[in-house]
Symmetry: C2
Subunit: 343 residues, 2 copies
């Protein structure tokens, strides 16, 4: 008598016995591999669903794919990432892939640790939003597994794909909009980073901002501030900025999240928006639409970004090794926070 399975687990072997075929055949069906007839395929499929078989991801990870994708975000508080994530899920809905999230808290060290953890867990690919790592580290990661970056402007020769909106254009749209509405002392409130890189979206936005200011003849009013790590510190910077002698009459914030803080400080200081101060954000998140914010913002369609990123990643896992870079055109959504001035 053959040695009977002791464990209760339903493995590929159980399925093979049930269907009366070899283990290898079942594996082929599982992977949609070449060399199985339609008859055998349906027979095996039937056995699998009858037994309620579920492939063991760890075992798969030993040899082949895990069908798990890593998704890394800097922050859980920024609702923009939620939009992107929704797009990713739409793209993967009908596939075998599952996505698991990591949150880096905008810290390079945590980001690297999470990526290591995901590589250890044999994820098939990685989507990283706004990476904080040095470019060379990104290249190293991409050499180890298929990688798509969102919100990172790659330099030529990159071995990964990117998905972006045109950040320079977005910033230009903001400045043009504000200038047309009668504002001139337009400041840019940037993200705090220890060492800015050319690849960062915020760098591009700053470049776009500076260029558009010059083009509008407002070059002498260029002012760039940095938001700090915590909410409290950022409010301090903004308060200082709004109480200074040459207070700006408009603030362009690198992301909506920060713009909400600006709105708060302005109100605390008794400044009316947009009467005394116009505020514009970036990402057009759900909070912009709330009447108490009514925040003008740049829409870069997070859903589309996520969807494209997932598509590119799956392509790359399937073998493509030519880098692709997807870019969407940003669009300004005007709301009350930047209404035209009444002179």
């Amino acid at each position: 008598m053959a040695p009977v399975k002791k464990s209760g687990r339903i493995t590929i072997r159980t399925v093979a016995e049930d269907a009366g075929v070899s283990v290898a055949a079942v594996s082929k069906v599982l992977r949609d591999a070449y060399g199985v007839s339609e008859a055998l395929r349906t027979k095996v499929r039937a056995s699998m669903s009858r037994l309620g078989y579920r492939p063991h991801a760890a075992a798969r990870g030993m040899r082949g794919q895990t069908y798990t994708l890593g998704f890394l975000i800097p922050d859980m508080r920024n609702p923009f990432f939620s939009d992107i994530f929704a797009g990713v899920n739409v793209a993967l809905e009908r596939t075998q892939y599952q996505t698991l999230l990591g949150v880096s808290e905008s810290a390079t060290s945590i980001e690297m640790a999470l990526i290591e953890a995901m590589i250890d867990r044999q994820m098939d690919g990685l989507i990283v939003i706004g990476p904080r790592m040095m470019s060379q580290d990104v290249m190293q990661v991409a050499a180890r597994l298929p990688t798509v970056l969102i919100g990172h402007h790659a330099t030529p020769g990159a071995n990964f794909d990117t998905v972006n909106n045109d950040d320079r254009l977005g910033a230009e749209l903001v400045v043009q909009h504000l200038a047309a509405a009668g504002y001139s002392h337009i400041a840019y409130l940037n993200q705090q980073v220890t060492d800015a890189e050319q690849t960062m979206v915020t760098t591009h936005r700053e470049i776009g901002y500076r260029q558009a200011m010059k083009d509008a003849g407002l070059g002498k009013h260029i002012q760039v501030f940095q938001a700090l790590q915590t909410s409290r510190e950022t409010q301090g910077v903004v308060r200082h900025m709004l109480q200074s002698r040459n207070r700006p009459d408009a603030i362009f914030c690198w992301t909506d999240f920060i713009a909400l803080e600006v709105l708060s400080v302005a109100r605390e200081l008794g400044l009316s928006v947009p009467g005394d101060l116009a505020v514009v954000g970036y990402d057009n998140t759900a909070y912009c639409d709330l009447a108490q914010n009514a925040l003008t913002s740049i829409d870069q369609s997070g859903q589309v970004l996520g969807l494209q990123a997932a598509r590119l990643l799956v392509e790359r896992i399937k073998g493509r090794d030519q880098a692709e870079h997807f870019v969407v055109t940003p669009r300004l959504v005007a709301r009350a926070s930047s209404s035209p001035r009444r002179p």
Copy 2:
């Protein structure tokens, strides 16, 4: 000549050779297992760091632990979950465990699929926030792997741990606070669920609300509404509610997130807060502090909840099988949205 390792990967075998000990010994060091001398331990540790060895999680998953915990949240938009997550990370900082997130979008089907995926991937344990599954499904999951629930009031005989705040008390605090401030027509805006269970936090809050209303002699003013799935639909409900003949003079929302929508609708309708309408939320998230919201809320210290959940989960993985239930006392944080009425 012995067969040389072909692959470049640094495995437990490489370490064993380098340190001049057996594979089993290295494994013991790795797992802090019994039966290794201090000398051997340090020797192996040295080899590991010299070679830059990293354990292969998939291989671990075949036999032992994966040192990966699953963390399931209903929603990425609600910043309260971010606080909880931060607490979890603090608790796990100095351990080997890594946390990976899943987002169920408040849908039972996605929630179940994610849990299956996490079980397939051999996660060592699960933390689920505000589960939407039926109680019996929860029990089945908990039977398969160590489980801690946050925001779920277990019935006696549960085989999982829970971490909660006292939701009934929280709701009572709100009603007492509003009543003392001179409001009487206090409505409760609840979460939409297909079938409410006794285990849900929102059910407890509703019970607390009803009880406190009666205790305050306001029983005849009890009104419960349901927020719907999307932001737009919820705003519709609120608008209808605020334009009805017997409009409430205060609204208690089951979570801050919804309260912000109420503030928005009130403003659109030209109602002043708190002059015409007081608004109170739950969770005391970061958005409450923004001046444009100034939202009174119940603080249930998300950080503490997350920290305790992680602690309980690790204990359970280590073998405890007696259920434990941790409860924190909620605290009301008063802000301008519920200032006392001037008669």
